[in-house]
Amino acid sequence: MSSVRTDLSTPTQGRTGPHQHRMQKADPARTGVLLSASGLEKTYHKDKVAIPVLRGADFQVHEGEFLSIVGQSGSGKSTLLHLLATLDQPDAGEIYFEGNRIDCLPTVSQDILRNRYFGMIFQFYHLLPEFTTLENVLMPTMIQLGVFRYWISKSRHRKRAIQLLEMVGLSHRLKHRPRELSGGEMQRAAIARSLMSEPQILLADEPTGNLDEAAGQEIMGILRTLNQQHNLTIVMVTHDQLLARQTDRIVRLAEGRVEAS
């Protein structure tokens, strides 16, 4: 269990995981591996042209690890991350989370998985423009809970969201809309949002891709802190070799396969 959850108050009691939904039995040989993929294949079709992106990618993410996936443009980094996050379905191959296969779960279970077990940040932050920073951070909890359950525990959730925003240094921007924030601030808000439901893994898709160097370093600092101090497992897709070198392990993707790690 990551320390992000233990350090901050826990809003989600007695949660029911996706594991209750037709999950395959855990493989005892994979102990210590949080997330793994084997033989992942994905081909996109544009008009009638097939564009193979992943051609049998295998790789593993160990618990507490800060891993970066690097590769050239079009090498399939983001596709791999989307497949891991269950945002997309592989054409072939298997994905396991905590030893349970997740790529063939029903959509509803995958939704729960994304909502409660995975945290995601993106290159373009993807904050909802109609909501304030605080509301954006609260969004995963709002999605998780019904109106009544949310309202009766509203103050607890707000407190936690404010704590997370303080942690990323945005306590002075609670009521601001995304358009009133800088790029770095938006990405920090996105990180706070991804931590709201105490994820077991953080999937970051080019988190600094849209930021200047200083802001990028700031974000990297936060990610490193989360990994080192809170033991949060992080998978980061990047094309920046310098940033990749700051992580525990680098997975290189070339022509849809894992080259080296």
Binding site: L87, N115, R116, H126, L127, E135, M139, M142, I143, W151
Partner: protein, 522 residues
């Protein structure tokens, strides 16, 4: 939770959705107003038609009528039992009515109705439409001293006062004419005060007299030379108000009624007697009251005279057998009695093959008019509902736009774990919210409009310089409206359903968006 928050944010920030709200609102408000006014007019018309025609009418095709109304009434009571509340016998005959005004003879084609002053008021709303308050309580065919239409603008002095003044004027005029004329004139004994051209006898002596003609009724025009119009009256007649008045505007645009004839004046009525073939019979009557039902057809054609007098004049009394003839028997039934069933019972008792009677309910008699109004209401409702359907398409288009605009947000929500069903319900809920707001505001506006429709009509009249309901055409003092709660609920619910239905397709599209493609959407 996030769904409601998103819906409320979208409502606050997507102003384009306001257009949908306004179109739903206008559709709902218009439907409520039109329905209420149509229902009001319809009810008003129903009441008037019903009030005049009573419930069921047994009438004879024969101009001579059906014999022995008392026996018929007994039989009707036997057939219908306690359902009968009242009955009256009437004679209805086409007639020509003349009166003189300012030296000119005005002629009208009227529907002359002989009524029993006691029982007729009990089966119809006849007395409510009379102008003299005492006649409204109980009709008398005797002229009253004064007090007609108290407080009514433009109504001339009526009753005996008018009659005396007129007689005095005629007398003075006649004296002056006698003085001026080189040859002394002999007063025409045939027509109390005004002489009419003699009615031509088309058939000559070959025309048989009416079957039960009274002795001396060959020339029923009263021939008394001693008839003093200042103190005596002819048989009373109640005239439809439009026979007597002209309604028009003066130069200032003010509406005025000009009464060419009023209670106290005499009129000549010519009608066929019951002979074979019928001969024209003419008689003088004194107007004793006016009848204003505000149904222009009735007000411009009805003239009521006492039943017994009309029977005498038309020769509808068989003195040998001691029975009378009438044209029809009007039956008023108790509240809630099925009129069609009562009609069918009477039709079974008086089969058309045997009796040749026409037995109809008031709705049968006014069938074409009532069904025309019904059809008009239905078509108007359909057309107006199309307005809301158009609003529905507006919502559809707006929502598709919003879905496209919000594609990335939908991707974000999905990446955060929002289920497709949740995304769909955001847009369906949004449509529901727009529908409820539009229908709610529309209902309130529509009801307010209906409540203040007369002021609104005045306002529109003031703005456009034309009255919405021209009083020279419509006799309504106020626009009649009936708000049917059921219609309001149906209209409001229907519009909300249309709004929800219109949001379903865009919502489905949003729910089916692929999260990765949605996130990549620029």
């Amino acid at each position: 939770m996030y769904k409601w928050l998103l819906i409320s944010r979208y409502l606050k920030t997507r102003y384009i959705a306001l257009a949908s709200i306004i179109s739903v609102m206008l559709g709902v408000a218009t439907l409520i107003v039109v329905n209420s006014v149509m229902a009001g007019f319809g009810q008003e018309m129903h009441n008037r038609l019903h009030g005049i025609l009573s419930d069921v009418v047994v009438s004879s095709y024969d101009l001579n009528g059906l014999p022995d109304p008392e026996a018929h009434q007994q039989e009707i009571r036997r057939v219908l039992g306690d359902d009968v509340e009242g009955m009256t016998a009437i004679i209805q005959v086409p007639a020509m009515l003349n009166y003189q005004y300012d030296g000119q003879w005005h002629t009208f084609q009227v529907n002359l109705i002989g009524i029993d002053d006691d029982s007729y008021a009990r089966v119809s709303d006849f007395s409510d439409y009379l102008l003299h308050p005492d006649n409204q309580k109980r009709l008398s065919f005797l002229l009253r001293e004064e007090g007609y239409a108290a407080g009514r603008k433009d109504f001339p002095e009526s009753g005996w006062k008018r009659r005396r003044a007129r007689a005095e004027y005629e007398r003075v005029l006649q004296e002056e004419q006698l003085l001026d004329s080189p040859i002394p004139q002999v007063a025409d004994p045939a027509a109390g005060e005004e002489s009419l051209p003699e009615i031509p006898n088309f058939g000559g002596d070959e025309i048989p007299p009416p079957p039960f003609a009274l002795e001396g009724s060959e020339n029923p025009v009263e021939a008394s030379v001693e008839f003093d119009p200042a103190t005596e009256q002819h048989t009373g007649i109640v005239l439809g108000i439009s026979i007597c008045n002209i309604r028009s505007r003066d130069v200032d645009g003010e509406v005025h009624d000009y009464f060419l004839c009023a209670p106290g004046d005499d009129v000549q009525v010519t009608f066929p007697n019951s002979g074979r073939p019928p001969r024209a019979v003419s008689d003088s009557f004194t107007v004793v009251d006016l009848y204003e039902s505000k149904m222009s057809e009735y007000d411009s054609t009805f003239a009521f005279v006492p039943l017994s007098r009309l029977q005498q004049l038309r020769g509808m009394v068989d003195q040998e057998k001691g029975i009378t003839y009438v044209s029809a028997i009007q039956v008023k039934l108790r509240e809630g009695v099925d009129l069609n069933k009562a009609r069918d019972l009477l039709q079974a008792r008086f089969p058309a093959m045997q009796y040749g009677y026409r037995i109809e309910t008031w709705q049968d008699m006014q069938g074409p008019l009532l069904s025309a109004v019904q059809l008009e209401t239905t078509i108007l409702n359909i057309l107006l509902f199309l307005i809301i359907a158009v609003a529905g398409f507006g919502i559809l288009a707006t929502f598709f736009m919003i879905v496209v605009e919000k594609t990335r947000d939908i991707g974000i929500l999905k990446s955060l774990g929002a289920p497709s069903r949740g995304v769909m319900s955001i847009f369906v809920g949004y449509g529901l919210a727009l529908g409820i707001m539009g229908a709610g505001i529309g209902t309130v506006l529509g009801l307010l409009f209906v409540k203040n429709i007369n002021q609104v009509a005045d306002g529109i009249g003031w703005l456009t310089g034309r009255e919405v309901f021209d009083p020279t055409v419509y006799y309504f003092q106020e626009i009649p409206v009936i708000i049917s709660p059921l219609a309001v609920i149906l209209v409001a619910t229907g519009s909300v359903l249309i709004a929800v239905a219109a949001s379903l397709l865009p919502a489905r599209k949003a729910a089916r968006l692929h999260p990765v493609e949605a996130l990549r959407y620029e």
